[in-house]
Symmetry: C2
Amino acid sequence: MSNLLTPKNRFMFSNRITHLFKIDFPIIQAGMIWASGWRLVSAVSNAGGLGIIGAGSMYPDVLREHIQKCKAATNKPFGVNLPLLYPDIDKHVQILIEEGVKIVFTSAGNPKTWTGILKEKGIAVVHVVSSSKFAIKAEAAGCDAVVAEGFEAGGHNGREETTTLVLIPAVANAVKIPVIAAGGIATGKQMLAAMVLGAEGVQMGSRFVASDEASSHLNFKNAVKCSGGRYTAFFKTTNSGSPFEE
Amino acid sequence: MSNLLTPKNRFMFSNRITHLFKIDFPIIQAGMIWASGWRLVSAVSNAGGLGIIGAGSMYPDVLREHIQKCKAATNKPFGVNLPLLYPDIDKHVQILIEEGVKIVFTSAGNPKTWTGILKEKGIAVVHVVSSSKFAIKAEAAGCDAVVAEGFEAGGHNGREETTTLVLIPAVANAVKIPVIAAGGIATGKQMLAAMVLGAEGVQMGSRFVASDEASSHLNFKNAVKCSGGRYTAFFKTTNSGSPFEE
């Protein structure tokens, strides 16, 4: 990817999101449980995007291991996604601070609870929202940016099912902090469309989940690669064991 | 709107959709049952877009009346939306042909059945689809264009719930005929995003349904104007009487 970084291209992609994270491209790899460990995260960050460790599927000691391995594998910025509803949240936050993580994406919870504590440690905090109302709350809580996650996105989604095409302009109008678009984005055209709608960056999951560096199972990667538009599914899972055999 | 039509702007909007319909802007007002009669349709067409009579809520004699009144109210092209599943479909088609309608949007049925018959009469036929698979069938049936209608759109939607952001590039890749995007589009930014994704025109409903010329009930117009992102609803209705008191 580095040959894309002519001075002109670097300027073209320069905005509040690239400045906030100190990255070359406003492309963020979504934190995905069971899929985004240190290998994927460091690969994305080394390529000029922002890799994000998905802490949602990691016990505290596993999270610490992935952060340490990621720091060894890249000198570039990377982040950790922290679902706030998880029982180990206190331990997770302690580890993030101890390990000097600089960027945290929080989701599935109230941004008021942790944003101030993280910001005091100099950590950039981005909260994932599914509506303008929650975006305004995240901004009021002191977040540096929001991920506006449309109905198309995976993970813990909003109940209102507002799609990316409708959500992004609404959120961009509602807050002054920069907006990262998520949901239904996998190509350059979709990225440009998101930015036309008011986003300054994109967060993508499925685009990365089938890559060599992702820790998803090979059968899952193949299923993603072979699927068409009609194969989106909603899952209820019970977690057992860890796929992070690294 | 006519003051927007400098030679430069006219060139900017010129594409296969403006050529197909002989219109100034690739903006199409969706045929909406109970809402898009001759007043709205002629107003949109007179402004340089394409107005479409929603035949779905009209008995054959009512449809004929609206076509005749529309022809009296505008010299510009307009169309009729024809849901193919309606019982009066034969009579509707006969009226379209007798009244010299030049543009027909078909939906909710197999495009094979009627496209050939309409095309023989010199009528441009556009079919509404919700997937690449149906777009390919519409192209094979001889349609001049397709409306790719995302999950966000009203009316008889696809079961796969593919959103506009995902559907438009998929359909634009699957067929050679031009694609009109529908669903979740109400602003210039959303129109530009749709065109970035590969559409050559947009079809909008809610954008027009609260206008003075729409025959929707005033309470409905006010509800649309005051609603936020979370007020989309799915309706099951039983029709009684006609709102077309014109």
